[in-house]
Symmetry: C2
Subunit: 292 residues, 2 copies
């Protein structure tokens, strides 16, 4: 049980975390701050936070738990802004989709206090953003990746793990670099492809009429293209090296398909599709009760 959550960033991810924590009876009070005062006010009106803080620093004051739920590029400046209220008994976590840049930012900003910061990536999200979509059930049944560094304190790491499990999450540990390679492949690259597909279609004269015919396959494939632009700009930039490596793997696979199509090698084409289809049919989300 935490006395006070200092929530920095009262959007979809942060707001949902606050609601989940409250529903689980794990926190007495939530003090929230968002860059936009109207977001903070809305979060209080919705009961997502109890008290509006006029700054990140004041949200941290008196908090034994702090969550950063902000674009990853804002991590360093935010941690610098709260640094002199960071003591050894606080647990600070984030929910960012990239981890090497976040851990580097934490090292630079928190220096000798970096041990209280546990880098977290809950593998969840929605195609809508904003506190109005905050949902106490957003995290339940999902995976959370923790990427502790050598200086992370064991006490905080265990506290974080216990907390996420209490919200119904399964927890895995890995290095920030391994995390970033994996998520370049399974998340950042798919987002990039979905963004590029939308722009490729809407850039054509007939784009709107094409889209009017699209069905459930397109709906699911393109859902992630509706992601928050500012957040995804930061994620793609922060992880651009791993993303470029994964885009290279993808490009070679795509070129191979196109070569077979151009040369009419139908047997080999079917073999490649079968490999993809079998792999996808076999795949199941590790956690989460949802159907694949």
């Amino acid at each position: 049980m935490f006395e006070q959550l200092g929530l920095i960033g009262c959007g979809l991810m942060g707001g949902s975390f606050a609601l989940a924590l409250k529903r689980a009876g794990l926190v007495r009070r939530v003090v929230g701050y968002s860059k936009s005062p109207s977001t903070t006010e809305r979060a209080r009106q919705l009961g997502v936070i109890d008290v509006e803080a006029p700054s990140a620093l004041l949200a941290v004051s008196g908090s034994d738990l702090v969550l950063l739920a902000i674009p990853v590029a804002a991590t360093e400046s935010t941690l610098k802004a709260i640094r002199h209220l960071v003591g050894p008994n606080v647990l600070i976590m984030d929910v960012g989709s990239t981890k090497r840049d976040v851990t580097d930012a934490a090292r630079r900003a928190l220096k000798q206090d970096v041990g209280v910061f546990v880098p977290c990536h809950p593998v969840t999200g929605r195609e809508v953003s904003g506190v109005d979509h905050a949902d106490a059930g957003l995290y339940a049944g999902k995976q959370v990746v923790l990427t502790p560094i050598e200086r992370t304190l064991t006490a905080q790491l265990e506290q974080a793990e216990t907390l996420w499990r209490a919200l119904g999450c399964s927890v895995v540990h890995m290095s920030p670099d391994t995390h970033d390679s994996a998520f370049a492949a399974i998340s950042h690259l798919p987002h990039l492809l979905a963004f590029a597909l939308m722009n490729a279609i809407t850039g054509q004269d007939q784009g709107a009429s094409f889209l009017s015919l699209a069905g459930p396959g397109f709906r699911d494939f393109s859902r992630i293209a509706a992601g928050d632009p500012e957040m995804w700009r930061d994620v793609l930039m922060a992880n651009r090296e791993e993303l470029a490596a994964q885009a290279g793997h993808f490009q070679r696979a795509l070129d191979e398909f196109q070569r077979l199509l151009a040369s009419g090698q139908t047997d080999e084409l079917q073999r490649l599709i079968t490999r993809a289809s079998d792999a996808r049919a076999k795949w199941r989300m590790t956690s989460g009760a949802e159907a694949p």
Copy 2:
């Protein structure tokens, strides 16, 4: 009300059509044929068809409605096999995902009788195949594209339209070429990208561990990669020219993203993501009660 549906191809699409027709009380009897006798037998056991036919020709015998629910590449040989039982009072339809190749095949196979063939593409499907997944609700609320040619008979066209509407579908008409351009963009290319992504990931040593971390975004994006390999081999091959054109549009959009990432142009990157995100957020499936 039809006396007898001759169902050629008792898989997911054909089986679901038979069940939907029966549920709507639109057919007295369903005679089914599949290339694999065990599929035909299974379809009868499940009540999807009433009578097993040992050949496509015998499924057509006595039928006033014929549905081809087979890989598009089998259209010409199948129509040739049934041709001499095709009279002026039958309605023949297909459910293929490409239309120029299908209409060309119908012209060649049916010659002066091609007018009774109404090319149809119901925009639906699932990531599983086979008669065991046949579902009377597969077509309800979906769009069906009809691509009549200049020789298509008005009577058959109206019959087809009335039939699909009775199954709860909305019906649009366009030329086979327009259809194929549109579906290259909104369906065939997304499938190709999803296949290539799966192969790009599983081709890496860490592919399996990457996949174990994937969440709901990946699940939705990659769902279509589990499509039936034989069907998709045919669709991609049949529409490879339009597909190559759409892949060109996509490649240019992707290259633009990669250029901005490499050069760190974050403002321009955000602008491109915003364009994609806004377009996807605005898009709604034309028909279908499902959420986008």
